[in-house]
């Protein structure tokens, strides 16, 4: 894993019109190459705003953001976005385009030739474990899980080194969510990606991420490995947030130990 920061956010502030306090306040964050970073926190804590400033879907009011050392404010926004994979909860597959056309959209925008796009689409379908025949289907013929796999394939189609994910598996059933989470984690390692994922699901963040950033009221409350954060934290909100998966895990472990006897106990 690299140690150079790939994404650097430097004293960034963003306010929305009509809001009493800024959504993100004077936030600095550095993410090293190859990391899988989860942004967690309550609704309105500023985690999605922070994520979207990285590919300029949202423009900050002040502060500076660098991607692979370049100041993104000076870059062409569509060109920047073509370099960064983006997956989000509503999936956003274009319903009027076939799955193959959806997956190949960023290569098409980058001007790849048709044959290279077709080969890449086939390769990506294999990679996300979808049948190759799905390339000719329209998105509404796929299940939710299949669509999200296609969404992941689209995000990495143009071989980005960075992938941003906004609640990527939130709308899926628990079994699919878990399977897709692990499948993505393997892809992340295999393709040596740098991933930033916003999620409500602290348990999944703990299980998948190398590093967890806990946000509250537009600021970073804590940034550490899952193991360290599970061990406790001085900030009560962070401690409360991390206590939940820990307690669940302990309860499940206790349940598993006592299970054979308990079932007869009545």
């Amino acid at each position: 894993m690299g140690t150079e920061p790939v994404i650097e956010i430097d004293r960034m502030t963003k306010s929305y019109a009509g809001a009493r306090s800024p959504a993100v306040h004077d936030l600095s964050l550095s993410i090293e190459g190859g990391r899988f970073v989860a942004l967690v926190g309550a609704s309105g804590s500023g985690k999605t705003t922070t994520l979207k400033t990285i590919n300029r879907l949202i423009e900050p009011d002040s502060g500076e953001i660098r991607v692979e050392g370049e100041r993104i404010r000076a870059m062409n926004a569509p060109a920047l976005r073509r370099r960064i994979g983006y997956v989000f909860q509503d999936i956003g597959l274009f319903p009027h385009l076939r799955v193959g056309e959806n997956i190949g959209i960023t290569p098409q925008l980058l001007g790849w030739d048709a044959k290279a796009i077709n080969n890449r689409v086939a390769e990506l379908l294999d990679l996300v474990a979808l049948p190759r025949g799905y390339a000719m289907r329209f998105p509404d013929a796929l299940s939710g899980g299949e669509r999200q796999r296609a969404g992941v394939a689209r995000a990495i189609a143009a071989r980005p080194r960075i992938v941003l994910m906004d609640e990527p598996f939130g709308a899926l059933d628990p079994v699919t969510r878990d399977a897709l989470g692990w499948a993505y984690r393997r892809l992340h390692e295999r393709l040596q990606l740098t991933t930033v994922m916003v999620t409500h699901d602290v348990q999944q963040a703990v299980l998948l991420a190398d590093q967890i950033v806990v946000m509250g009221a537009g600021r970073i409350l804590a940034q550490d490995t899952p193991r360290a954060l599970l061990g406790g934290h001085q900030h009560p909100d962070v401690a409360a947030l991390m206590a939940m998966p820990k307690r669940q895990a302990e309860q499940i472990a206790a349940l598993l130990e006592t299970a054979p006897g308990a079932s007869n106990h009545g």
Binding site: L57, P78, A79, R81, F88, D90, I91, F94, H96, R154
Partner: protein, 518 residues
């Protein structure tokens, strides 16, 4: 087959072709203007309300009025371009119809375009940005394709409106399926009216279905439906336009006003020109003020008007001169001021007269307008659509002190019906009208000579004044039609039984014309 149906079917290809050309052009222009406007309005909120409100306002103007308004507008514009560039623009016919119908078609396209573009799922817009599309790529690859079904539904509505409203372009000189309806209404030829309505309705239905196929193809992403709809529409338009290709020679445009006598004379003039091998086109159903301005601006080449009408409406004169002196003065003034040529009298007079049912008149003992004045407050006057706004009505009221209980305006055909059925007691008839005799009406005398002479005269447009072939072709008309002859021809078209078309009546007149003196 019925003679009238056969006659109508003979005219159908040309009327249909003109109708399709006009509606298709208006719709295409409407889409070309509305689509960018809809895109702008969906981008900039501030533009949305004014754009939609303006289009909505246009929609509230009655179709006929909107078409009529474009005539003076273009006429004014034409005077400007003539003064500046030396070239006028046609104020009658295709251009004003096209512009009015284009405006008319815009509202549904705009409204649905804005609704389609602003109603898109925001997640898809974010996805388009997220994969790295530029605003232009997003519009072309995502927004427009997704809004297309809603937009097509708007275009479909616009198409049906446009095809319907295009029938109203007849009175401003554009041939359309409306020619059937307007001529049929004037000559009480209900077969013609039905043919016009049915053809327009059928055309609208077919186009609506084909556009519906395209809409469904877009909505369900079925290329085959889309293809069938597009090809069907293309073939239908191309097939309808075929009759137009056979035209296009240098033609003389004959204008007519909106009553049977004018249609007959228009056909007669056409017959005479065709005999000389000249190409002919007709612009029928023009308003009586419109038609003279159309002549002066060379939108039509020849038509028949009446001396008294020109005297009061064009020259704004209210004095009374003897017939010959008045015609001489009229000829001089029109040539001098407008460049138009009064070629000569046809021989008959079609004056306004006041007429009553014979039984009613004898019961009251009324023989002249002077007798009528005493009974007028208990009687209803039925007039045609323009008499009450003409200066001779004012003159008549002043001369005899006329004051009716009520005054009602009718389309000429219905005016005669009204007196027959007692809805009117006195009507403003025309002296050549065959129905005066047929309905046993009496013409009331005008002892004070308050109503002017209305000699029928042939007028020639400024650009044709020196055209000897035209003048030679028209020569047999001059002085050749007596009032009795004209009345007989009018009755052929106006009567209820054994009804004839204006063309047949024109052939009857042509057979009675003297050979040109040479």
């Amino acid at each position: 087959m019925d003679e009238r149906i056969a006659g109508a079917l003979h005219l159908l290809p040309n009327y249909l072709a003109q109708h399709v050309l006009l509606s298709a052009s208006a719709l295409m222009l409407g889409v070309l203007i509305s689509l960018p406007l809809a895109i702008l309005a969906s981008r900039y909120k501030g533009l949305r309300w004014p754009t939609l409100a303006t289009a909505g306002l246009v929609q509230t103007i009655p179709g006929l009025a909107l078409l009529a308004l474009f005539y003076p507008l273009l006429l004014g514009l034409s005077q400007v371009t003539t003064a500046v560039f030396g070239v006028g623009i046609p104020a009658l016919g295709f251009l004003p119809s096209l512009l009015a119908l284009t405006l008319y078609s815009m509202l549904p396209i705009l409204r649905n375009g804005v609704a389609g573009l602003t109603g898109l799922n925001p997640a898809l817009i974010e996805a388009a940005n997220g994969v790295g599309m530029t605003p232009r790529q997003r519009l072309l690859q995502v927004e427009l394709p997704l809004a297309a079904p809603v937009l097509m539904a708007g275009i479909r509505t616009a198409a049906v409106w446009t095809i319907g409203a295009a029938t109203l372009s007849t009175p401003i000189g554009q041939t359309s399926l409306g020619n059937f309806i307007f001529s049929g209404l004037q000559t009480e030829n209900w077969v013609l009216v039905l043919v016009g309505c049915a053809a327009a309705a059928l055309l609208a239905l077919i186009v609506d279905q084909l556009l519906g196929l395209i809409e469904a193809g877009l909505a369900r992403r079925q290329r085959r439906r889309l293809g069938v709809g597009l090809v069907g529409l293309g073939v239908a338009i191309a097939a309808a336009l075929v009759p137009l290709k056979s035209q296009g020679q240098s033609t003389y445009v004959i204008g007519t006003k909106n009553f049977a006598e004018q249609f007959i004379l228009g056909e007669l003039v056409g017959e005479l020109l065709e005999r000389q091998g000249l190409g002919v086109d007709h612009k029928d159903n023009l308003g009586s003020a419109t038609i003279f301005r159309a002549l002066v601006s060379n939108d039509i080449d020849v038509y028949v008007d009446y001396s008294g009408t020109l005297w009061t409406n064009v020259l704004k004169r209210h004095d009374l001169l003897a017939d010959d002196a008045m015609l001489a003065e009229l000829t001089r003034a029109l040539r001098e001021r407008y460049g138009a040529l009064v070629l000569g009298r046809l021989g008959f007079e079609n004056a306004y007269v006041l007429a009553m049912r014979a039984d009613r008149a004898s019961a009251l003992g009324v023989r002249t307008i002077a007798d009528l004045a005493a009974y007028a407050p208990q009687l209803t006057l039925g007039s045609d659509l323009e008499f009450l706004s003409r200066p001779e009505w004012t003159a008549l009221q002043r001369a005899y002190g006329l004051k009716f209980r009520a005054e009602r305006s009718f389309n000429p055909t219905f005016m005669y019906r009204a007196i027959e059925e007692g809805e009117a007691d006195v009507i403003t008839a025309f002296s050549t009208d065959g129905r005066i005799a047929a309905q046993k009406l009496v013409v009331l005398g005008d002892p004070k000579r308050a109503i002017l002479a209305y000699d029928a005269v042939v007028l020639i447009a400024p650009r044709r004044v020196a055209d000897s072939r035209l003048k030679q072709a028209l020569a047999p008309l001059i002085g050749a039609l007596s009032t009795d002859l004209m009345r007989e021809a009018n009755l052929m078209v106006d009567r209820d039984t054994d009804k004839m078309s204006p063309k047949q009546a024109a052939q009857f007149l042509a057979a009675h014309l003297r050979k040109p003196a040479s």
